[in-house]
Amino acid sequence: MKLKRVVVTGLGALTPIGNNIEEYWDGLVNGKSGAAPITHFDAAKFKTRFACEVKNFNVEDFIHRKEARKMDKFTQFAMVVADEAIINSKLDVENVDPDRVGVIWGCGIGGIDTFEQEVVAYALGDGTPKFNPFFIPKMIADIAPGHISMKYGFRGPNFTTVSACASSANAIIDALNYIRLGHADVIVTGGSEASVTGAAMGGFNALHALSQNNENPSMASRPFDKDRDGFVMGEGGGALILEEYEHAVARGAKIYCEVAGGGLSADAYHLTAPHPEGLGATKVMQNCLKNAGLVPEDVDAINMHGTSTPLGDVAELKAVQKVFGEHAYNLNINSTKSMTGHLLGAAGAIEAIASVLAMENGMVPPTINHTVLDENIDPKLNLTINKAQKRDIKVAMSNTFGFGGHNACVLFKKLEA
């Protein structure tokens, strides 16, 4: 069976450094940090009191209050970015065959804010259950694609992928494969997360996963830097319209690029720590190249998982050097998490968008906050430090890895004329 080709025809983003695609790209190339003291809850007693929150977001500007209050924030983010991506794609939603349009979404946690509120109210009561009927449908991680399908009437494949911080990369890869196999013509994919809450921050603090640089939040996310001390929690969402190539051409859609392939692997090593030699990371990049029919020398740029944790960044770079050999020195390597923070289940989506936009604009966003290189990192690698770099990109790679040892990698390729 000949696989169909899949292209990107629409983008939407709501991030800590910009509330739509244009603002997001502007933030990325200008090295803007999204980190600031937490406003969503009282974090005074927390080890980490800052995060990358979405700013100036009023949900009622986008969704009627009656509908918005039935959604956890992660679903509200999903609706906003899906809308932007669908509009951006110029898909004729009234006349497209709704049975051939799917929604495959990524989310690592789901409605944790809703869960906290309901359970706290129950715990403070006399034991009588007074749970809101919307509690469960607000909380469950699969509800975001459900809402998107209900708004637009899309009746194709519809589900959420959960693989912690790799979730939305998994969603993109599933979307790619379902279109390749002919199950849908168009899939709205991406991911969203809203985990700047007491339970989430406290939980990740307990894992010693978060930076505690409370004195200087905007400098806290510093992948590959000697003084990095953990990731910075982020929130938001990103959406991509993936479309079968002929379908996109037939309707005269703007094509950003081709989704060349996806790679999947597991570390099979530890709950939260990466394999120290980057075993799973090596495998996933190799799998992805093979799936895309490309060789290492074809790749120009990698947006790393690069969360700014002491172990993860080094292991990932070891893997890059193993996969790419001498060609690693020709790559533009960057971590946009230095600016956006770590959006957990939405990371794969907004970082895939960063790769697509880097290709579109011929410009690689920087890895900001870099002062002193970790001595365990090869200084000959181009980590795109502190300033965006011009680069004609034909092939871009995006890595994401999740707690549990899930690894996902996506390759985007400029459409050949």
Binding site: H64, R65, K66, E67, R69, K70, K130, N132, P133, F134, P137
Partner: protein, 77 residues
């Protein structure tokens, strides 16, 4: 309008996102005010909380309009 009626109205306006003028005594939650089955469950729970009463499921089934809600609550208080 009684105190109970105005509090019932406020809850409906808040939860269903409808205009105050639409919340008449005859208005049906599902047919006139756009409530689905989950919205109706939530309304009943809000009435229980606001007025500190219990509305058993078999009786909740008989509360389909604004007026029926007000009458039930007045009788229960």
């Amino acid at each position: 309008m009684s105190d109970i009626a105005s509090r019932v109205k406020a809850i409906i306006v808040d939860k269903l996102g409808v205009d105050e003028n639409e919340v008449t005594a005859e208005a049906s939650f599902t047919n006139d005010l756009g409530a689905d089955s989950l919205d109706t469950v939530e309304l009943i729970m809000e009435f229980e909380k606001e007025f500190d009463i219990q509305i058993p499921d078999d009786q909740a089934e008989n509360i389909g309009t604004v007026g029926q809600a007000v009458s039930f609550i007045e009788a229960a208080k």
